[in-house]
Symmetry: C2
Subunit: 157 residues, 2 copies
DNA sequence: ATCCGTGCAAAGTATTTGCAACCTA
DNA sequence: TAGGTTGCAAATACTTTGCACGGAT
């Protein structure tokens, strides 16, 4: 059984919750699309391909639950919906996102590299950082190559 | 006349827009609450104290406009509404926010300190960073002093 | 058998928009 | 005077919730 499924099963049991088909299916979709940043509606569509009887409200409720359990992460990519990605971080620190302003692609970067900065914040502000959320906006590798081709700006999240 | 008001007037004229009483009043409110992170509804309430006839839609439209002009910055503080603060940054780089998980206060830190990290992103990912958005979560100075006093967690944004 | 979980539809809520009247430049 | 701007209300659109039925333990 997949690692995240085991994790889900354990955590659900621990809290007296049940592992239902719906929860299993929704987690499967997230696993199959690891690295992507799916909106609730996109998850719903993918879920319906396998189990058309599953309702949108269940997807909302389950994604919320998975986020609480730390199995997925909710994120804000500046559009009008909530998006989720499978949690691949180890500590309580999240990885960062590079958002291309030209083509809209979103790249996840594994490195944290903020430890030093957080130490400075601790020293100067006496503020103890336990987590952070970082988004970088700019121009991605691909778009730096093709300058002004008038290419589509449709975002692929 | 206040610096930001001059800036507003110039930028509006440049684009063929008009400086109305409503826009003036809304900017005044933002200036009077510099450093705070007001929701649209909070701005609306403050505006109504001076000019009860101004409508909510106008506040929405004006805040959107001021954000486009770079006079205010829209920000996301993880609650259900858009928040705005007067822009005090010089470059196109925004300052960071320290969010206390215990008392909910939000501190703006002037320092950027991300130049080195952005250079690393450029080297490794060939991604040219032009802007960023950074939030740090943790425990603020005040709350680190009073450990577990059971104090209110109501957020003061 | 218990009671958590689900599907559906209705409700909720922040935000946007159409439009006639208004007012700035 | 002309056209951008406003206020109001209606419309949007994502998300949440009430409730009776269904299913996992």
């Amino acid at each position: 059984m997949e690692e995240n499924t085991v994790k889900l099963k354990e955590q659900l049991k621990e809290k007296g919750y049940k592992l239902t088909t719906q929860r299993q299916v929704i987690l499967d979709v997230m696993i199959e699309h690891q690295g992507q940043h799916l909106s609730t509606d996109e998850v719903y569509s993918l879920v319906k391909e396998k189990h058309p009887e599953i309702g949108l409200a269940t997807v909302y409720r389950t994604l919320l639950l998975l986020d609480e359990l730390g199995i997925v992460h909710k994120l804000d990519l500046d559009d009008e919906f909530s998006r989720y990605e499978l949690n691949t971080d180890t500590k309580d620190h999240r990885h960062h996102h590079l958002i291309c302003m030209r083509c809209g692609s979103v790249i996840g970067m594994e490195e944290d590299l903020l430890d030093e900065l957080e130490q400075q914040i601790r020293d100067k502000y006496n503020f103890l950082v336990t987590d952070h959320r970082v988004k970088f906006y700019g121009i991605c590798q691909k778009c730096r190559g093709v300058e002004n081709t008038g290419a589509s700006v449709k975002r692929t999240l």
